[in-house]
């Protein structure tokens, strides 16, 4: 019984906070930022999931439900390759362990549609822009590095939540897929695919 009362109180408090916060939803601009966890998909160079990432985005609601804005984020995905011997066409050979590192910095414009103008705002978003990427291979004291640019597109689904009374402060959680057209002949990279999620704060 005590637990039920606690749950009811919590739900009531939540609903109260949500309804009160909804009074703050007249604001048209927003800024979100936080931590981003990214996994590379179908990537022979580095296939890993990593939390070395962050994002920031902001926008303006040109209509009550539709916003246009900008974003930038970064992620590093590293992969350790244990010691192997690589034999080349001229019979030269290299034995070493190595670390591969894929660094991605996409940025561009966002188009967001929110389904509610309440304390909880679920939304869908499309991000379009450019991606700067660096592919590095660390071997002993050497590093081989190359960089490239590509076209970037990313659909995202998420929600922002403003639980505090009369405060433009809340939280964001979202999941995304992204594709960029970056290419690297040396590493046989023909596009970069990612999936991930992000947790952040919202203003």
């Amino acid at each position: 019984m005590k637990r039920i009362i606690c749950v009811m109180l919590a739900v009531s408090a939540f609903a109260f906070a949500a309804s009160e916060a909804s009074a703050q939803m007249g604001k048209r601009e927003y800024i979100n930022g936080g931590w981003q966890f990214n996994g590379t998909v179908a990537n022979d160079f580095v296939e890993s999931a990593s939390g070395y990432g962050a994002y920031i985005e902001g926008g303006y609601y040109v209509t009550p439900m539709f916003a246009v804005g900008g974003f930038a984020s970064f992620n590093t995905n590293n992969k350790y390759i244990p010691k192997q011997t690589y034999v080349f066409d001229d019979k030269s050979a290299l034995t070493t362990d190595l670390d591969r590192s894929l660094y991605q910095v996409p940025f561009g414009v966002t188009f967001r549609y929110r389904f509610l103008r309440d304390a909880i705002q679920p939304y869908i978003e499309a991000k379009v822009g450019s991606e700067y990427s660096v592919q590095s291979t660390y071997m002993s004291t050497f590093v081989s590095r190359s960089d490239n640019w590509g076209f970037y597109i990313s659909p995202e689904i998420g929600m922002t939540f403003y639980p505090f009374y009369k405060a433009d402060f809340g939280f964001q959680v979202a999941a995304y897929y992204s594709y960029s057209s970056n290419r690297n002949k040396s590493y046989d990279i023909k596009g970069l695919n990612n999936v991930g999620f992000k947790l952040g704060i919202a203003f």
Partner: protein, 214 residues
């Protein structure tokens, strides 16, 4: 305008956030690279000689030739591997077919970095209070933090001594190897790792033999 500046600053911050792999993630073994000359057939060579000293670069202003125990251990490792491959060691023989020269390079890199508060131990509970020395309110170090790391490498060339000596004609290098990486905590340990790396250099150079079938 304030928000644009905020976003711009954040973008620049993002661009500087590449997470580099940690050096301690590596297996702590030396990288081994070997490369033969073009169309070299080692079966046509029979004897070899090894320079009796190790050329050391980086420990003093001028290169020095070392015959220390460590130097001789590396030379011996090459001799053993060459003999396993069927070559005959003929020390100080002017008619040897192959010559082997070894060079050890040691290099120290220094990085100087500035931090807002690099000397974290000054705030460590119980650390010497500045007031101990009089009416002082704290410490400061006049220098930035300096990091150093040392690498070492063993370079080896096998040269062709059977060619005709002519004025201005360079000596042909038939095989070369680079063994290198971060230096360990002791030279003795580094030499052990290098001996293992020398074995690996031969393992990945199966053509370096008098036996045609290999």
């Amino acid at each position: 305008m304030k928000k644009i500046l905020l976003i711009s600053a954040a973008v620049m911050l993002l661009a500087a956030c590449h997470k580099e792999p940690y050096p301690q993630d590596s297996d702590n073994e030396y990288l081994v690279y070997t490369s033969p000359g073009k169309d070299v057939n080692f079966a046509q060579y029979q004897t070899f000689d090894i320079a009796d000293s190790l050329l050391v670069i980086g420990q003093s202003d001028k290169p020095v030739y070392s015959q220390s125990d460590n130097a001789l251990a590396l030379i011996q490792a090459y001799r053993i591997n060459m003999e396993k491959r069927g070559f005959i060691y003929t020390p100080s023989d002017p008619d040897a077919d192959l010559g082997i020269q070894l060079t050890y390079v040691i290099k120290t890199e220094r990085f100087v970095r500035y931090y807002d508060d690099p000397y974290w131990w000054l705030d460590y509970p119980g650390y010497w209070p500045a007031g101990y020395w009089g009416n002082w309110t704290g410490f400061y170090y006049p220098r930035p933090v300096t990091y150093t790391y040392t690498t070492n490498a063993l370079l080896t060339d096998i040269v062709n001594l059977t060619g005709e000596v002519e004025e201005g004609k360079p000596l042909e290098i038939l095989w070369t190897s680079y063994i290198g990486g971060p230096a360990g905590s002791s030279l003795k340990g580094d030499i052990k790792r290098m001996e293992a790396a020398i074995d690996q250099a031969f393992v990945q150079s199966a053509y370096l033999t008098r036996n045609q079938s290999k």
